[in-house]
Chain length 394, copies 2
């Protein structure tokens, strides 16, 4: 059966060049970077080279990069770690309503620890308004969390503009800190932390053709989050545990490739994306694009098909070897409608009928044409059996 994977925002395969870079560290250079002998020193060198590679891409110091076991861990270290470390300085946090669950659930936990969170609305395209950030900032604000690009609808947030505003309110303790979740943006958008004006930034491997089980957090010099994991003092005492050397090497390699190919690949993907969106909206009635039409990740297509149930469509397409998602990958195990699509001011049904197609490096026009052949039939079939009949509120 032909297989067309259009779920690259959930996770990607490992690029063979990344696999090649990792291999020696499984087989021969398997030392523990904390060991003083040659095998340990060579492993340490690999980790430090990876750190430098990433620092160069982020335009920061190598010691500002902290390796973690996942994007979620990097996000949690940024939020829980910083809030707990600076709670004497203030207990107010600001975040957008459409953050990833790693952010939202970490903030829920902080709420139980006595922090207060202001959640910012987004407009109908999923954009926050930097002025809303400014209005929400108080003396008590220590942390602001805005995602760089949304994983579900692909909307790219005005983070640089927001960063510039936050800078004006920074006090002697350097708070409020500005954190951005760049897990979905990496590989598509520039990660220059100086230009973005951010203090903390999370990235992971599994969305950029790198390994799963590894991520990293940029922590601006001078900021000391409290660790989530204590032990041998690795990663500048911020994240203990024997370094995942192959994973770290793989993350750096994946980011390096993504950065090098970013512009050309983004142009290619954006063309495919716009072709695909255009065809669907034209070919299939009662369809609505979710997310911003232009300020959008080049590989993201998220469309609501009114009067259908997303999970059923997903499974019918699965039968044809077409792999997509409905709502975020992290939420697809639950039946809760996407908090992102409902935040756009649309009824629940829009979330239920939303399908996300996320393109990747191997995606071709032919792949999309194959989908365009099967998708209308699936939608038609589901609409025939659907009990719901919503007005098209396009």
């Amino acid at each position: 059966m032909r297989e067309i994977y259009l779920d690259h925002a959930s996770t990607t395969y490992l690029d063979p060049r990344v696999a090649g870079a990792m291999r020696p560290y499984f087989e021969n250079e398997y030392g523990n970077p904390s060991s003083l002998h040659r095998k340990g020193r060579r492993a340490k060198e690999a980790v430090e080279n990876a750190r430098q590679t990433i620092a160069k891409i982020l335009n920061c110091l190598p010691e500002e990069i902290i390796f973690t076991g996942s994007g979620s861990e990097a996000i949690n270290l940024a939020l829980l770690g910083t809030a707990r470390a600076y709670k004497e300085h203030g207990k107010h946090i600001i975040a957008s309503k459409i953050e990833h669950h790693a952010v939202l659930n970490a903030l829920k936990a902080l709420k139980k620890e006595g922090f207060e969170v202001t959640y910012l609305d987004v407009d109908k395209n999923g954009l926050i308004n930097p002025e809303d950030v400014e209005k929400a900032i108080s003396q008590d604000t220590i942390l602001i969390s805005i995602m760089y690009a949304n994983n579900e609808i692909g909307t790219i947030e005005p983070v640089a503009e927001t960063g510039a505003i936050i800078k004006k309110y920074r006090d002697s303790e350097k708070t409020p800190f500005f954190f951005i979740d760049a897990c979905q943006a990496a590989g598509a958008l520039e990660l220059n932390v100086q230009k973005l004006g951010v203090d903390l930034l999370a990235v992971n491997g599994s969305k950029i053709y790198g390994p799963k089980g590894v991520g990293c957090l940029y922590v601006r010099k001078g900021i000391r989050p409290m660790p989530l994991v204590y032990g041998g003092g690795q990663e500048n005492n911020l994240r203990s545990g024997t370094e995942n050397v192959p994973g770290i090497v793989g993350l750096a390699k994946a980011l390096e490739i993504a950065e090098r190919e970013r512009e050309a690949e983004s142009t290619r993907l954006a063309e495919l994306r716009d072709y695909f969106i255009g065809r669907i909206l034209k070919k299939i009635p009662k369809t609505v694009l979710n997310g911003h039409p232009a300020k959008r990740l080049p590989n993201n297509v998220n469309i609501t098909f009114l009067d259908i149930e997303g999970e059923s469509a997903l499974l019918y397409l699965d039968e044809k070897g077409i792999y997509i998602s409905t709502g975020s990958a992290c939420t697809s195990n639950s039946l809760e409608p996407s908090h992102v699509i409902t935040a756009l001011g649309r009824p629940y049904e829009y979330a239920h009928g939303s399908l996300r197609f996320t393109l990747g490096r191997k995606t071709t026009k032919e792949d999309l044409d194959y989908v365009l052949k099967h998708l209308p039939k699936v939608v038609e079939k589901l609409r025939r059996i659907s009990a719901v009949r919503l007005e098209n509120r396009k």
Copy 2:
């Protein structure tokens, strides 16, 4: 140059059979286990199969296994997670003085959160006395942490005996919980949690010829630690983040192989170990074995060479392609003497002069004879230049 790696307690290479088991999950079965389509379901199946494999070895339910990003994270989840979740029930914790830094530093963090910790002495061979655990238990005790086998000196603790005692004091809330750090024991000792009478048990991949960056925690049904990382709700809501599918598959495969080969390999290693210990103690004057002579991991040799400085010996041996450690791998970056060897009631100098040789699957008698050829010369050279002259207190 001939390379003889005798630092298997720091970390091991990846067994080719484990690498083979992992490979498909890098290349083709790269789906996100939370995705509902075929590629996601196949990834989920791989994770659940791994969970079952491990549950069988630990003699527990699959849902009692929580995958983490390292052994340290598993340990921290057990300690921080359980203490924070059950603090209303009591704030007293008991641990041995020779626990791994992941335990000791997590407990230090808990102390700052208002918990009280009783540290138990060990005897001259590194053994705790289960009666001391009994004496230390109070109404307020919620957690007891004893390592299964020590990473530095190889001493195997009486955990089953301790588990039986703790059971007598368990109240209606099922506290105190009994946690054992089995990171160093896995592959050498039985991991049957029912026989051991433990509630929480941590294992990782990087010491058992499995991948780095993955570990797991056994959590007895009914116990709900607080998560360290929040997000998509993976791992029964105890550890969020996209599952490291290849890592998890690798951990299960590594544990399966270790378990299958455990008895034969332990017998082989213990013979080599005893040969090596015997030759060193006989051939080199002023040497003292650290750790229990019999209740000892089959691959662990830890000997103090009086009047030498361990790091210098390590580096001289490194020149000969012999890779060992002095003190724990996790502490070898610092100049602090091993807390384990000093806990044996010996002066600091015994820790400074201690060398750890940890044997592995490929270690042969020829390897050890090569070491026995070079080691006496190194020791002699260092003693010639040493300022310290300690009486041999053997």
